[in-house]
Amino acid sequence: MAKIVVVTSGKGGVGKTTTSASFATGLAMRGHKTVVIDFDVGLRNLDLIMNCERRVVYDLINVIKEEATLKQALIKDKRCDNLFILPASQTRDKDTLTMEGVQRVLNELAHDFDMIVCDSPAGIERGALMALYFADEAIVVTNPEVSSVRDSDRILGILQSKSLRAETGEEPIKEHLLLTRYDPTRVSTGQMLSVEDVQEILAIPLLGVIPESKTVLHASNEGVPVIWNAESAAGAAYSDAVARFLGEQIEHRFITEKKGFFKRMFGGGSK
């Protein structure tokens, strides 16, 4: 049975698409047959990050409206055999995402794939609700910043009340915190919320911390998901997160020991 994973956040621009691209790639690299779906109808971007923008012919809405088959719409990744992309429509709006349509597409994908990654749009409207409704697990992408943390908390509330699993009283969606754009130096000087701060507030298990990194921009410039860049901190952090998601026990890196050092030296603990 395929696993449906939504990458969500509430707040815009925190790194959902960056995460979806790298996460789906990472799962595929590790042998899981994976499809990543862009739910950002009207503002598709995943195709650019995955470097398949010139190969888009049909999209999710075409499949929902039965104007195209899944086979016609799915784009095979050029680097990874196990990876497929289902792009969003650029011209229609989110109202065309019907629950029945989305369910039919997901059911059909579940026959062929092990992992279905849903890249949610920002906000808490139809597109975002449809992206999370059928999820088994959720990756809540959060930046160490007040509005992002608050919006993540809102999204957690929605996962726990407005998803299929919540409505049918099944086992709840498994939630994972992915803290992105983390800057350990600013954390150590008390300018940025720490991993512990965010974890304490959101109270969900930590899947990973992705540091702020210039490599992410280079990666999107080139259309190569950053996880391919194994030497970069962001790429390595995504690899670790994927491994943890698949059940491996891996210590968190890139959170840096500096903070502990400062705390011990100067009795910080700015609580």
């Binding site: 509330g157 720490s194 304490e200």
Partner: protein, 93 residues
């Protein structure tokens, strides 16, 4: 000494303020009573109707606001009575 103070003050940077503010707002938004938008409008309407039993006032003479702080929430009610208000009894009598 100055050197240490420098780091101390940095350690007390804005992140701790952010954390405190988040803890408060998130706790409020999680609780069921946290949906002021859902009931404040109705509350205001009800208050206007109750006051109108006694005094003629306009809808906008009643202002209801909610201020949520650390340990308690304050519901503030402001009613502006007309300069020469006429109690209803006099009118009907």
């Amino acid at each position: 000494m100055r050197f240490l103070d420098y780091f101390r003050s940095k350690n007390k940077g804005t992140a701790s303020i952010a954390k405190e503010r988040l803890q408060i707002i998130v706790a409020h938004e999680r609780s069921d009573t946290s949906k002021p938008a859902d009931y404040i409008g109705q509350l205001q309407q009800d208050i206007v109707e109750v006051i109108r039993k006694y005094v003629n006032i306009a809808q906008e003479d009643v202002i209801v606001s909610l201020d949520r702080s650390d340990s308690c929430s304050v519901l503030e009610l402001n009613v502006t009575l007309p300069d020469h208000y006429q109690p209803r009894e006099q009118k009907s009598a």
